[in-house]
């Protein structure tokens, strides 16, 4: 089986005045065509950096190595010019905050049409027609009138729909959604995810969804990949992550989801402590200081990503003796 995107040994380090920060460490994964991969982790786990690295949108302080083959080309070795032809045409991206991701001085239609004009040889009128069509596709009602409105006349959910329209205007094969619903109201989150799903079905899109919200992922992802402190800690099909959890960090994340059946007054479960400094990571398991299953060995030995089942990888020294975590 061939993959649409195949990342091998991705490392991202940032030069800072205090030294090198290892934001992403030896991350390898692949996404097959039409699939939805969710990348889950808390703030600073390296999930957004991974996405920005793939788009080559990190600034100069970032040192990237590894290999990312996408549709048969390596994203990391091509020239900036070639990369510009990939961005927005073959890979679309949506950002966390639709309030700031649209330029306030142009109409929404202008901004969607611009994406078309950058990559296609067509007239402004054709681009605008395409913009209206795209706005209809992402469920913006009355798109013929909306096309001439400014971002400030749109609500958050509508703006995120407009961002999706921009991202898919050139029918890319991969859509990277970086926390697409984090800045939105809970009621709107589901609508926006529904839009992504319907677009995915209608144009056969592959989606890489980056989020910290496991609840959001539950109904949406085919495969889930959990990151912690710049490392992949567990990856498997969605149901295996939820029902056959093998990594203590994933378990702790799942336990932190507020239960809708919870008894009022019971405390929310949290993961105590903080992620380690990525400037000088401790020698052993990076999650060990916060892990309820940690042993002396965990403090000294850095665990490797090991197969624990069908297409199921987990990074834990005790995965065989702990078994499925509940």
């Amino acid at each position: 089986m061939t993959f649409l995107l195949d990342v091998k040994g991705l490392n991202v380090r940032f030069r800072t005045e205090f030294g090198l920060v290892h934001a992403v460490n030896e991350v390898s994964f692949s996404v097959s065509k039409g699939e939805t991969l969710a990348v889950v982790g808390e703030s600073g786990s390296g999930k957004s950096v991974t996405a920005l690295a793939l788009m080559r949108l990190l600034d100069r302080t970032a040192l990237i190595d590894g290999e990312a083959s996408f549709e048969g080309v390596n994203l990391f070795t091509m020239s900036e010019k070639e990369m510009q032809k990939i961005r927005g045409a073959r890979i679309g991206m949506i950002f966390q905050d639709p309030m700031t991701a649209l330029n306030p001085v142009f109409t929404v239609g202008d901004q969607i049409a611009e994406v078309v004009l950058i990559h296609r040889d067509c007239t402004k009128q054709e681009a605008k027609t395409r913009a209206i069509e795209m706005m209809g596709l992402v469920g913006i009602p009355d798109s013929r009138r909306r096309v001439d409105q400014y971002p400030h006349e749109f609500s958050g959910g509508m703006r995120q729909r407009a961002m999706i329209a921009m991202a898919i205007a050139n029918s890319p094969s991969l859509l990277i959604a970086d926390e697409p619903t984090t800045a939105l109201d809970v009621t709107v989150q589901a609508q926006v995810m529904e839009v992504i799903r319907s677009v995915q079905e209608s144009i056969g899109l592959t989606v890489m969804l980056i989020t910290h919200d496991l609840g959001l992922v539950a109904g949406f992802a085919d495969r889930i990949q959990v990151m912690y402190a710049g490392q992949l800690v567990e990856t498997a099909e969605r149901d295996r992550i939820f029902y056959e959890t093998r990594n203590p960090y994933t378990r702790a994340l799942l336990d932190s989801i507020p239960s809708q059946l919870g008894v009022p007054g019971t405390e929310l479960k949290t993961i105590g402590g903080n992620p380690p400094s990525l400037l000088s990571p401790p020698p052993g398991c990076l999650f060990q200081p916060r892990c309820v299953h940690a042993t002396e060995d965990c403090r000294m030995t850095r665990p490797e990503l090991k197969s624990v089942g069908q297409n199921h990888l987990s990074r834990c020294l005790r995965s065989s003796d702990l078994g499925v975590l509940r």
Partner: protein, 297 residues
């Protein structure tokens, strides 16, 4: 039963769509001092350019029989010590002064915007180089530099405009650099990169339109500064040289008459002062109108 309308689908569709420019224009029109100033400024500039034609005298027509006359119907502003009509000379002087100021603001804005945008967007050593150049220009005492350069290149109105531009672009550059640095970190710039836009397009389309407001305000201040500097230099004899009149050298030529005929000194001065005053009100109005957070209705 009444139809239920999906509220979401109707939101924001009520009022007409107003672009930021239209909203700003609306705010500007309601800023009374700015509108009055704009009107008076236009009137003043029109007078500078066309009122001289109403008179029967040329600006350099000497008539020694009519020296140092007081204002009369024939010579509304009186005559100077060799009998030239001061009304025509003052209007023409205003015209040259305004021309110099306009040339300066045009050129200084062009240089300042381009260099400021480059420094702000590309940062790193490019920014360091341009910023240090700006600092260098700013720390050297302006009047001395101007005096030296004006001596060498001044004389003609265009020469003086070039010299002044070379000094005054720094302010625009600093403003543009700051605004560009602020906007290049905005997420919509990242979004533009993510759809494959090239740096030139990003600067021209996504960043510079956001700079226009601040630059417009800065231009009005620049116009005022340019006219004052031009007058100062011409007064000191370092600017535009006679027989071409400017408001500055008109004051200089009649400064001896401050006791006998104060009007002769005050009239050109009056034009300088009011020009700058109106320009500042105009800038004030623009600043309020172009501030997106302005609550003024």
């Amino acid at each position: 039963m009444t139809d239920l309308v999906d509220v979401n689908s109707r939101e924001g569709l009520g009022a007409e769509s107003l672009s930021f420019g239209r909203l700003a224009l609306r705010r500007f029109v309601r800023h009374r001092p700015a509108i009055v100033s704009l009107f008076l400024l236009i009137l003043m500039v029109l007078a500078f350019f066309f009122a001289g034609r109403l008179s029967n005298f040329a600006f350099d027509a000497v008539d020694v029989t009519k020296r140092l006359e007081n204002p009369s119907r024939e010579h509304p502003f009186g005559t100077d010590e060799i009998g030239r009509d001061l009304f025509v000379r003052t209007m023409l002087g205003g015209q040259y002064s305004v021309r110099v100021a306009l040339q300066v603001s045009l050129l200084a804005t062009a240089i300042g915007t381009i260099l400021g945008a480059i420094a702000g967007y590309f940062g790193r050593w490019v920014d360091t180089a341009i910023s240090q150049m700006i600092n260098l220009i700013l720390i050297v005492p302006a009047l001395i530099v101007l005096a030296v350069f004006a001596q060498r290149f001044g004389g003609s109105p265009v020469g003086l405009a070039l010299v002044l531009s070379g000094l005054l672009w720094t302010r625009i550059a600093r403003v543009v650099r700051g605004v560009v640095m602020q906007y290049k970190e905005q997420e919509f710039v990242l979004a533009a990169k993510a759809v494959g836009a090239k740096p030139g397009r990003i600067v021209a389309r996504h960043i510079l339109p956001n700079v226009v407001g601040s630059v417009l305000v800065e231009i009005t201040l620049l116009l005022g500064t340019a006219i004052v500097l031009e007058s100062t230099l011409s007064f000191l004899g370092l600017g535009v040289q006679p027989p071409i009149p400017t408001l500055g050298n008109l004051i200089q030529q009649s400064k001896g008459a401050i006791d006998d005929a104060p009007l002769r000194v005050l009239l050109p001065g009056f034009f300088v002062v009011f020009f700058v005053l109106f320009i500042n009100f105009l800038g004030d109005g623009l600043r309020d109108a172009l501030d997106p957070r302005s609550k003024r209705q």
